[in-house]
Amino acid sequence: MTWLLQAIVLLLSLTPLKSVFARIYALGVRRVVAALASHPAVSCILGSGSYFENRPTYGLSDVDLIIVLNERMTRADASAREIAYIYEREQRIFQFLGRWPEKEANLIYLSDIAAGFPPPESFRMRYKQGTLVTLYGEMPHGIARGAITNSEVISEIDTLLRFALVADPRYAERQIFWKRIFTKLIALAELIDLRDFADVMRKRLDLHFLRDSDTRVFFRKEDPAAMFSVQLQLSRQIIDAIGARHPRQKVTLHPLAPNGAQTAPARESVAPAFRREFAERNEISFTSIPSVPIGFAPRMLYFPIEGQIVVMDLLDSPYDGILHLRKTIGRRPPSDENALVSADGFLFIISHQPTFVDLIPLDPQQFANVYAAVAGNLTEFEASATILAEQQAQATAMFHALANLYRINDQKVEKLPHPCIYREDEGEVIENALRVLRAYAAGAPDWTLVLRTSDLFDHLRCKHPGGAEFLTELQRYQRCMYGDFSLGHTEANNLYHCLHQFMYQALTGAAAIAVDPPHAHLGITVGVITRNRAGDLAELLESLTHQVRPPDEVLVVDNGSTDRTQEVLQQFGARLPIRCKFLARADIPAARNLVIESAAHEIISFIDDDCISEPRWLAAVERGFLRAQNIGVVGGWVHHQPAPQRSTVDNYYRAFHHTKS
């Protein structure tokens, strides 16, 4: 359908109707810019691509908008979703704008840049080249400085490879698609002063279509597998040529494992869960390597510190093989199972995202250590000294930016306009911090190779004695999270704050690190409002005596009971710090306010008299409040306490009112 529309527009624009299309394009751009500009998060909108360079081909032109979001908006914010919504509403009418999923990378967050993160490579390059056109607002100044670096060009080449692989196969079957890719590749080669190479590329017989006009090329088909192989080969040649210009530098990593045997590459074949699906067609050879860091900047945190990375060597044609792999993995339920794919000796990360299967190309210059690891050498690799220096500079900037984020988010949760209830996956927070610390240790000046989490903890304790106590507790906590209790339980409740403190000092290379004690105490009053439920109340108070973290005070408001409530309270007087207040009127909100005002402590935990507390209830509440100063309310889950006899009502509560029975 889109093809037909494009074909019609393309043919008609050869006639005098061209001026009509020029008007439609101008109207569409004006409308979408106006719609986007009305969103308060948008600080400026930039245009890039052939349309804005005044050489449009109607029907085919790239109308590429770059949307810059102002500093108040962070990635956690809902702005991105709203902007996608606004964009798609306009795009439905003006199809030439291109679909949003392809444009998502064009969102630039000034908040990230303010924190110190480098903007995306493609944006940096276009910014430095000065090819961006301001459509709304003011172009931000000083985002990227200096000449275009080798790493930027190489990253762009990687982006083109990714683009060819994740594009819709229907587009990839058309010659125009490949003309675009190779034109960009040639432009990159020229940018880096490889003119001879660019000329050779232009003269290649299989790329003859580069000389033909867009209109002619549009109606031709092309074999994507052959084209991708050519792209891969040429990309590799350009990258190697860039690498060969500078002196090579040999890097030796120091393995942290206690014995050398740990670092020997494991060449045994492993069995990823999806291996069975490839069993019949003998097109992939499976091997595995120990999990090494991917490059030295903290951005490729796809693999856990421990264990093995599966390497899938495609024996078939790279394009078909990868497409088949994407399809097979896409059919599986989403998981964290990422792997490396080797196609004609070029490595990719294949990663199963919630909605699609992504491929991240790893070039042999920036990720030389991964290539060395796949070749069997974990501790030594060689790379261009210039590229290594660029990598290090970028890594340092990113570590500083991450440190900034940790400092900003210490003891404070940023209030966003959307969520009503906040929650964080602790496993993810800790695991992510550890992967960042591993990447930090892998680069200069440490140059260490960490293959186990316990080694990382030992290394950090050794390096930062000031944080040793915290690190030990964190390690225990992390082990327990995965069900390994060999290091014992931890009752440390201030780990979240300590982690932030530790990270912002460690990532900026502080000489001596000071971290607060991992245990902290907040006074907690348990508030109970009761009326004529002496039996239930006794069960509740009994459960409160089993709290791992005992309550500092139990304040019971008797809302006019006439049964043995007072007797029960006296019974528990010796075992719990009980205080009782009376409120003759049966008025629950007033009773709750009475508890808040007369409680001896800052935190008031309400529990109803027909509930039973789980032993870790108060410990969890305390941990919740310690996470940040601006957490005002902490709640959890309400499970069902099954009745002595199963009944339909009991089933009802189990199914619809409570989270678990």
């Binding site: 209830i421 008031i604 507390s613 957490i631 309310v633 009502v649």
Partner: protein, 238 residues
């Protein structure tokens, strides 16, 4: 149980961060497991003495809309609740909740129309019209429960009128909506007969709750078609 409320939308554009085209429903912590910092309680103005039986909804609502304080879910903070033991106790409990749930809606002071579509755990705001000059707040949550009821009424009406085509259309609609409505119960692991009884109780409580909420909200000049009871979000760290 999950009760949904529309959030404020700052249509006057005074606060740039507050003006958003997309708004989501509102979840609250139940009073039987709610901890509060005293400073927060004082800042947001303590419990509302008029918010009988919906004081927790009201409190969490004010926390969600306050500029600084936030509500946090801690996965390990767990209590066990006994609930009512008899069917009559359950129905009166739902009726009671329903009657008073309109108050926090009215208290928001918003006037306009909010339409939500609740598809499983996705809560989508279908449409919103907000205006201070509009006389009332209309808040409707479309769920499978309402579709089933509307189609049943349509079927009965069609049979009474003798319109066979309409009846066939209603039956086709029911064949689509009923399995969706019963999907939560279908996933439960219990005998067939127990499931049937559960479906009946579920339907009865839904009727009690939605009717009570509709009637109760009218007292506060709010036209409320509340979310029927569906399975709460049970995705948590294992």
């Amino acid at each position: 149980m999950i009760i949904e409320l529309p959030l404020f939308a700052d249509s006057s554009r005074r606060n740039p961060a507050g003006a958003r085209p997309i708004r989501m429903g509102f979840f609250h912590f139940s009073n039987n497991n709610l901890s509060i910092r005293r400073q927060c309680a004082r800042d947001i103005g303590m419990y509302d003495l008029n918010a009988t039986k919906s004081e927790d909804v009201d409190l969490c609502f004010r926390v969600a809309t306050s500029p600084t304080w936030i509500a946090w879910r801690e996965d390990d903070a767990v209590v066990r609740h006994k609930g009512r033991r008899t069917l009559w106790g359950l129905i009166t409990q739902m009726w009671g909740w329903g009657l008073y749930v309109g108050y926090p809606y009215a208290k928001t002071g918003i006037h306009g129309i909010f339409l939500y579509w609740l598809n499983g755990r996705d809560h989508t705001l279908v449409g919103r019209f907000e205006s201070g000059r509009f006389p009332v707040l209309v808040c409707a949550f479309a769920t499978d429960f309402y579709f089933v009821n509307a189609l049943m009424i349509l079927l009965i009406a069609a049979l009474c009128l003798g319109s066979w085509w309409l009846a066939v259309a209603a039956i086709v609609g029911l064949l689509w909506a009923t399995p969706r409505y019963l999907a939560d119960i279908g996933k439960m692991q219990m005998e067939r007969w127990a499931k049937v009884k559960l479906a009946i109780v579920h339907y009865a409580t839904n009727v009690a709750f939605t009717v009570a909420a509709f009637v109760g909200a009218l007292r506060h000049r709010v036209i409320l078609i509340p979310s029927s009871v569906f399975r709460p979000d049970i995705t948590r760290r294992s």
